[in-house]
């Protein structure tokens, strides 16, 4: 059997996805027996020009993790697309924009101002900003340019498969690699994972979902057996694709939604709004309002991983001056 030719790439993400690949531990040897690797910046020393020199379609599968936020990430996404037969969006950032996608609640200028000027730990009296192109006496220095928004990989190039998760669980990675190695490929567009929700596969006991308000994970130690929503914790299980092995729930942590919505859900935030709104036990408007005031940051909580692929894809107009992070003006 000829060996599979693989490439891995890391764009706008934390690096955890690459670590997840390494986490397959001794099974990495099976992968090594199965495959030759042509690019893997975290683990091996290849240069972009090595990839440029390959024939088009030479790489069998490229696992691209991370969202696309700057010109370099787009350039490499396009290069790898050209050189690969199959492109896999690997991890929640490549699939849905992930945590970096939350930056779509702000415009690029707001982000640069915040990072290079406003954070309490920043001292920058000359108002220095990163420049994409700068001449020094030794020559010219360049940096990748910053885009107006965070994009999932599929907004930039065609993607065949999606392996979600923050990071993707090891058994899912192996399943994807095995499917590819044995040529048993699902139809393009397939998201590896279950088509049921996390709730559907959750082992906890569920009774009636009625609460007086919500708590944040640091405020309580939840009971181990009982549905976390029923204990007043915001668990994204009802709006999230299963197949993750319920790792968080088993560790007594509510689901954070990293697998994104199921195929039948258009917008994770809207679904969570529906689920939580239906759970308030009171019928008194003042009490309902007080109960819901315990949801501190709906956009950040419900779209933690999927803002870039949500119906609105991000904030629709700039944050007004004086708006604190989160975009909500106090008292409004």
């Amino acid at each position: 059997m000829t060996k599979l030719k693989l490439a891995f790439y890391w764009a706008a993400s934390c690096g955890g996805c690459d670590v997840a690949v390494l986490d397959i531990n001794e099974k990495i040897l099976d992968v090594a027996a199965l495959a030759d690797i042509y690019l893997w910046p975290i683990a091996m020393d290849f240069k972009y020009k090595d990839v440029q020199a390959l024939d088009d379609g030479f790489i069998d599968v490229c696992f691209y993790n991370g969202a696309v936020r700057n010109t370099e990430q787009r350039e490499i996404a396009e290069l790898l697309r050209q050189k690969s037969k199959v492109m896999v969006a690997f991890g929640s950032c490549a699939c849905f924009g992930g945590i970096p996608g939350l930056a779509n609640l702000y415009g690029p200028q707001e982000i640069l101002d915040r990072v290079y000027q406003e954070t309490p730990s920043t001292v920058n009296p000359e108002r220095v900003r990163p420049e994409t192109n700068w001449k020094v006496k030794e020559g010219r220095l360049t940096l990748p340019g910053f885009f107006s928004a965070v994009y999932p990989l599929s907004d930039i190039v065609q993607v065949e498969y999606y392996v979600p998760g923050c990071p993707p669980p090891v058994d899912l990675i192996l399943r994807a690699v095995q499917a590819i190695a044995t040529g048993k490929l699902p139809p393009p567009g397939t998201v590896f994972g279950s088509d049921k929700t996390v709730c559907d596969t959750c082992p906890r006991k569920k009774e009636e979902k009625k609460v007086k308000g919500f708590k944040r994970p640091h405020e309580v130690i939840p009971e181990a057996e009982k549905c976390l929503l029923e204990q007043g914790l915001i668990c994204l299980g009802p709006a999230t694709r299963g197949g993750c092995g319920a790792r968080c729930i088993e560790a007594n942590m509510p689901c954070r939604g990293c697998f994104g919505p199921t195929d039948r859900v258009l917008d994770q935030g809207a679904k969570m709004t529906a689920a939580l709104g239906g759970m308030i036990s009171s019928r008194n408007e003042t009490e309902v309002r007080a109960a819901l005031a315990t949801i501190v940051d709906p956009a950040g909580t419900f779209y933690r991983f999927t803002l870039s692929t949500s119906l609105l894809k991000g904030r629709v107009r700039p944050v007004e001056k004086g708006c604190p992070p989160g975009g909500i003006v106090a008292g409004s």
Partner: protein
Amino acid sequence: MMAAFEPKIVGILCNWCSYAGADLAGISRTKYPANIRIIRVMCSGRVDPTFVLQAFAEGADGVLVSGCHPGDCHYQEGNYKTYARAEILEQLLEQMGIEKGRFRLTWVSANEGEIFASLVSEMVEEVRALGPFRPTRERFAELQATIGREVAPAAGAGGEGND
């Protein structure tokens, strides 16, 4: 000259009260602006917040959801759920930068045709003052067009470097 802006409002009304109320406004020949497109659902509790977001994403300038008065829901408690959902949704919309006046939840009974008409007129004027809402597709196409031309990192400097 550009045609004056006429807001497009999507109205999602429950069958048993609000739709009947809108109907009453019609048969009583009460005048109200034609900017609203009405969708009938069995109960306001059927209104998935996805409907509201999708209406905005596709270019509605405003969304009105209307059901029976509290206590009057044909299915006992559909509208209580709607109320709680709308409370969360309002917060979410605010974070997403959608102005308050573009989304409304109201209670209109079957005999409140006049009230329905005046609610719609009021909302149309409010949304008119806010101006058009841009559908996600359009806004996003514009953003994506910047993929080739990255944002100038330095405010005012144009990102052209120092030469």
